[in-house]
């Protein structure tokens, strides 16, 4: 009875959802913490503790300048997550709006926009982003802008499908009969019902944004040296891999993996959630 009240069918425990949410929450909490407090000053070079392996005082060890890697990783995570948040906000808002309008109204505008989306998605987004950044030059805001635009199709496609499906459902017809205008129907009636489909898309969007930002910064085409994101740290770490500092790259890379894993488990868990009806 309790299960029916909560509106969800009985099923096996959704470990993906719980584990993903737990990892994401811990990483987010650490990031927020890193904005206010880090165990050491991330930029401080301590000549007495150069190139230390992980130990209780330095959880991820120190780099060749004696900087605490854990403190730097906390800050790098902040930079990476800030960029991802902006990217998902831009592409999610724009993609949902475009998908809503084209899906609800249909017609030739729908056809043209979907062909454009197809053309963009046919080409790997990292490659496109690389080339556009080659023209614009590197930098945090350029990365956000480019990825924000390139991720629009993924949201637009999901939103379009849902709006096109809901357009013919009875509750929308009833709303229309009661005199609701198309905008009101889209925002007040259909949009809340797209949550089961849009939430996983947002989570997967975060997953892809972290991956894309890390890849580009790893290649040195993403953020500038001022905001050291995780990808940039990893490319620093890689150059010390063969010089006896393997923990640098491994710890930073492990942080990236945990971030992506959290989002991908969360997305998978949200998709597996059984719908209420």
């Amino acid at each position: 009875m309790k299960k029916r009240l909560s509106g969800r069918a009985a099923g096996p425990t959704n470990w993906f959802l719980y584990l993903g949410a737990a990892i994401t929450l811990v990483m987010a909490a650490l990031t927020v913490l890193g904005c206010f407090w880090t165990p050491y000053d991330p930029g401080a070079m301590d000549s007495l503790s150069k190139a230390l392996p992980p130990c209780p005082a330095h959880w991820m060890g120190t780099d060749n300048f004696g900087r605490d890697i854990f403190s730097r990783a906390l800050q790098g995570m902040g930079a990476t997550l800030f960029i991802s948040l902006c990217v998902v906000a831009i592409s999610g808002a724009a993609g949902t709006a475009i998908g809503a309008v084209t899906g609800y109204f249909g017609g030739w505008g729908d056809e043209i926009l979907m062909r454009i989306c197809d053309a963009i998605t046919a080409f790997p987004s990292i490659l496109l982003a690389l080339v556009i950044l080659a023209i614009l030059g590197p930098g945090k805001w350029n990365v956000i802008g480019v990825l924000g635009i390139l991720f629009i199709p993924s949201f637009a496609r999901v939103a379009r499908g849902e709006f096109a499906r809901c357009r013919t459902l009875n509750y929308v017809k009833s709303a229309r009969l009661m005199g609701a205008g198309p905008w009101r129907i889209m925002v007040r009636h259909i949009l809340p019902n797209t949550a089961p489909v849009l939430l996983p898309a947002v989570s997967i969007g975060f997953n892809n944004a972290v991956l894309a930002e890390a890849s580009m910064s790893f290649l040195g085409i993403g953020v500038g040296p001022a905001d050291a994101s995780l990808g940039r740290m990893l490319s620093d770490g890689q150059s010390y891999l063969l010089r006896g500092l393997p923990w640098y790259a491994l710890c930073v890379g492990g942080t990236i993996v945990l971030l992506i894993l959290g989002f991908s488990l969360l997305g998978e868990g949200l998709q597996r959630r059984k719908p209420a009806f």
């Binding site: 080409f123 490659l127 690389l130 080339v131 023209i135 290649l219 488990l265």
Partner: protein
Amino acid sequence: MKYLIKKLCTLIITLFILSLLAFSAFSIIGDPAASMLGTNATPEQVAQLRHELGFDRPLLVQYGDWLSGFLRGDMGTSYSYSLPVSGMVLEKLPTTFVLTLMALALNVAAAIPLGIAAARYAGGLFDRVVTVLNQVIMSIPPFFTGILLTCLFGLVFRLFTPGAFVSYAENPWGFLGYLFFPALSIAAPRTAMTVKLLRSSILEQLGQDYIRTAYSRGSSRTMALWGHALRNALIPVITFTAVSVAEMVAGSIVVEQVFSVPGIGRLLLASISSRDFPVVQAIVVILALWVAAVNLLADVLYQYADPRIRLS
């Protein structure tokens, strides 16, 4: 046939628009004359060079010129090396091509048996292990897989020397051996995704009415899977594999950097950082052609696997 011709036309139009966009973007933003002469050049000198190189002509004329050159195999001249771009690109292309091909082979060879086995024993221990591993491997970016493999097989087991690339001319087997770990790094996340897709695709097919009919005619689960469900289940996997190839081409650009493989990705990155736009432009168009060709191939295979498309 009609379907293929339609696809081919769309493809040519897409490539045309893409190359036009790439061309105009690079021409408008990267003024080569100014950057070639350096900061001491007078405006007259810049104008003179622009005239010599033909950059003062209308953009469409320049594009037409470039396109006809490209089709004849002349991709212009590199700004930084003053060498023909076609030679520079063609020298690097085979390495990346072999790398991607190897990644594709690994991807298909691993994903299809694993996907089938996971679906055949769905819900069992093997299936659960595969599902969990999938989720983890999907979350490891190819460049980090590369770093992990370098650490494990390069530094601990010493199976290869990190950074010591063996060219094909020196030693063909050494060349393939060196490319194995980069190919594995590129293939790993895509393989995990393919296994997941194939598994759910088979399970979806096994729940269809025609499978129930097959059971009622006395077919076993194995027979139903191999004889009926698999062919239908592979259709979405073909489309996905085409996307995978495109992603693996992009992945190779990143992974070449990790393993210092002198392929087209390193050339692209070097050209981007030295703002050598003719090279970047040529690579972009070649990679677009490559991706488009793979998509076309997938469409052909798709038709073969699903006669409904061919007949409609």
